[in-house]
Amino acid sequence: MATPVKVYGPPLSTAVSRVLACVLEKDVQFQLIPINMSKGEHKSSDFLKIQPFGQVPAFQDEDLSLFESRAICRYLCEKHPGKGNTKLYGTNPLVKASIDQWLEAEGQTFNPPSSILMFQLVFAPRMKIKQDQTLINKNEEKLAKVLEVYEKRLGESRFLAGDDFSLADLSHLPNAHYLVNATDKGELFTSKKNVGRWWAEITSRDSWKKVVEMQKQKN
């Protein structure tokens, strides 16, 4: 029996939850190693050895140490093509290229404005940091424009990269989940016909439901 992979970080972290969704989709045995960020454990010299930027997640599979959630997801899919969801990273080069394209779009175009909105609307109040309304407005506008492109795409394609749920869709779950469930900006997703349909579909996956449960358990 292979050693379970190790995922370091709190499930509430968006990047950690991205990896958790993937290990669950792929049915890969894993061990979640808690990192208490309020105690600065992510900046300890031991942790910096496996993640030099002092961010979560970090990941280990036997001797291999990796970081960057999307890279970890790609590795899991390439190491275990036959396990769990076998279509998560495509089964031929053309589909894989499309998945990579939309995975990059998520990282480069969706993630920045959605992260800033999440921070401003969800975390700043909790951390007693003053919200920046200009920043909120600017990034809401940016995100709305991105979702217009998604609305058109998802009118032509069931999922972002094609007919099957893939890493590209999965990658959006963490940030969008916070915006839809913990802010008043959920309408950006739910009021659009195609994005709304897609959102309902991807959030109904067992893997994501399990991640949400894990987020509720660890406070």
Partner: protein, 215 residues
């Protein structure tokens, strides 16, 4: 049908061009003028709905996002040219890891600096000195981590040149060239040696020769 890469004058398309040259794949380029807004033409938006560069066509396949595109060609032509993905699954994972570091940690500050220093004036915008300072500081912190990494590893993903190193070349050239910030690289011994190495590859000289930057 020959591969077509749109927008060769700019930095992101050069990731794709570098990859194609390293793999020995023939290609054509199509000029796109950002200052004239050609990236917002309906015909262009059909290929790249976000209006960014590059777009690449390989037969019937149209791809956007330079890092997705370079991954595609590096895999398609795995058996020819330079090996850009490592030799094992584990090496490939490290390549993916450090491509993503470039995308999430290196690119945002260097892109912000590029926009403020090189493009804002051409667009009739005032440079925001506060943004420049903030991003220079952010980039310096990232380069410190690279310095540590490159003191233990010849290239970012290991002892082999890969897409992870390649991905840094186009914008770093702006940094040390027209932005006048060469000291940020030169002051860090291992980053400097790494930059000298990767920027002196024949593929980069060829890229600059056939696709001169807009400034």
């Amino acid at each position: 049908m020959v591969v077509k890469v749109y927008g060769p004058a700019y930095a992101s398309p050069k990731r794709v061009i570098l990859c194609l040259i390293e793999k020995g794949v023939e290609f054509e380029t199509v000029h796109v003028d950002l200052l004239k807004g050609e990236n917002r033409d309906p015909e262009f938006l059909k290929m790249q709905p976000f209006g960014s560069l590059p777009v690449t066509q390989d037969g019937d396949l149209t791809l956007f996002e330079s890092r997705a595109t370079m991954r595609y060609f590096a895999e398609k032509y795995k058996s020819q040219g330079t090996d850009l993905l490592g030799k094992t699954l584990e090496e490939k994972a490290l390549v993916d890891n450090w491509i993503d570091v470039e995308a999430t940690s290196f690119n945002p500050p260097i892109y912000a600096l590029t926009f403020q220093i090189l493009f804002a004036p051409a667009l009739g915008l005032t440079k925001d000195e506060k943004v420049i300072q903030e991003n220079e500081e952010k980039l310096a912190k990232v380069l410190d981590i690279y310095e540590e990494r490159l003191s233990k590893s010849k290239y970012l993903a290991g002892d082999f040149f890969s897409l992870a190193d390649l991905s840094h070349i186009p914008f770093t050239q702006y940094l040390v060239g027209p932005m006048g910030k060469e000291p940020m690289v030169k002051s860090r011994k291992h980053v400097s040696a790494w930059w000298d190495d990767i920027s002196s590859r024949p593929s980069w000289a060829k890229t600059l020769q056939i696709c001169p930057p807009p400034m």
